[in-house]
């Protein structure tokens, strides 16, 4: 029994679980409640890391799609699919957590401002990529066309990142990265919790992509096995 449980545990899973535990402690016990927004501000510690995860996902999809087009190696295609599937989960959580945060703070669930719209477009890019792969007949052409969609999809990432600065609307300004406000609160308690949470969700993202990659590899092995069986059956008949 214990051996079975230990077999299931992956070092990445243990690391992400430990980091998630630390992040949860910091979010709910260590960091003080923000004065203006109250408890609802703690949503930020989930929303920002999953938003980062969804953007990281499309960058991995794009990068591995580019590598597939260049090297024609199946492993890059597998990585792109795995990242897209995990990315769509992160994207959905990003949108839902943002909407739940907006309701008490902005008094609306959704507004048509640039940051929100570009984030929604990112989600639709993921969905379009996965739907294309789901409906297009399997083969090299599907992989090639999906890779092209994956490469183009990453164009949305810098637009999302800079949207709050380019179109100053209700969304809070950037607090991390090259375009962040110089008076960012990242050095404060908020920043420490945000970094810890982002690290935890990044490792969770890597673990999920790794797991999905392995499953994709098994799927390809199964197809190959069936092909071999089919060929041997045909040879036997002939």
């Amino acid at each position: 029994m214990l051996k079975k449980v230990l077999d299931l545990l992956d070092p990445l899973l243990i690391l992400s679980a430990a980091l998630m535990g630390v992040a949860l402690y910091l979010i709910f016990i260590w960091v003080p409640t923000e004065t203006n927004q109250g408890a609802v501000q703690r949503i930020l510690y989930f929303h920002v890391p999953v938003a980062w995860g969804s953007m990281l996902g499309i960058l991995v999809v794009s990068g591995s799609s580019f590598m597939y087009l260049w090297k024609k190696n199946e492993k890059w295609d597998r990585l792109a699919v795995a990242s897209a599937e995990v990315g769509v989960i992160f994207g959905a959580i990003m949108l839902l957590s943002g909407m739940i945060w907006a309701r008490p703070v902005w008094a609306v669930w959704w507004t048509g401002e640039a940051k929100l719209t570009t984030a929604l477009i990112l989600f639709f890019i993921y969905v379009a990529y996965l739907m294309f792969r789901g409906y297009f007949p399997p083969g090299a052409q599907r992989q090639r066309l999906a890779a092209i969609i994956g490469v183009i999809g990453a164009v949305d990432t810098p637009i999302i990142y800079f949207a709050a600065n380019l179109w100053s609307q209700a969304h809070p300004p950037l607090i991390t990265g090259p375009a962040a406000d110089a008076e960012s609160t990242l050095g404060s308690d908020l920043g420490i919790v945000l970094m810890a949470s982002t690290l935890a969700f990044t490792f969770l993202f890597i673990f999920l992509v790794q797991t999905r990659y392995k499953i994709r590899k098994s799927e390809d092995d199964l197809v190959e096995l069936k092909r071999i069986l089919s060929t041997s059956a045909m040879t036997g008949v002939n």
């Binding site: 409640t33 203006n36 927004q37 109250g38 408890a39 609802v40 703690r42 949503i43 989930f46 929303h47 999953v50 599937e85 995990v86 769509v88 989960i89 959905a92 959580i93 949108l95 839902l96 957590s97 909407m99 739940i100 945060w101 309701r103 008490p104 703070v105 902005w106 008094a107 609306v108 669930w109 959704w110 989600f123 639709f124 993921y126 969905v127 996965l130 739907m131 792969r133 789901g134 409906y135 399997p138 209700a170 999920l208 797991t211 999905r212 392995k214 499953i215 098994s218 799927e219 092995d221 199964l222 197809v223 096995l225 069936k226 092909r227 071999i228 069986l229 089919s230 041997s232 059956a233």
Partner: protein
Amino acid sequence: MMLYAINTLTNSGKGAMGTKLALALIIALTVSLAVAQTSYANHEPPISGIVVGVETDDAGNLTRFAVSDSTGTVTTFTIFDGTEYGLENQAGDRWVSTQGEEPSESVRRLRDHRERFAPITVTFENETAFSVVEREEGKLEANLGYLFAVFAVTWALFFAYVLYMGRKQRVLQHEIAKLKGKTG
């Protein structure tokens, strides 16, 4: 031929699983967005913020008041006899009335809110306030529901995805073992 058909069916099944997941997510989001848009389609969205100005006439009755929202935008509202109030004092006692019924009390309550920086929510149309209430959702206790919702949604989706992957992995392992057994 039969093996080819099984192969094709299995592949389309795999694709359909991912597509179903994507479709379920897209439907959930679309419904949420549609509900949200419908709720606010007929009214201007209410403004929440702190009272930054209270103006009275010579008789001391409220004529206008100004609210600054979280972005710093100041909005001035006029009132009429039907403007409804639901405001609390520092002790939490709620005063519910209309402008026509108690015109002097509204001034006192709004000034009290201005001094305490207590947030309010105003529903309005064409800058005329219809209701002025305590910002319920600004309270820490009330916000815990939203925090719980985010926490639940985040982990429910992750767990559902991990379960989906686990199931998929088991089916694949079973099929591979079966086929390997056939090849002997």
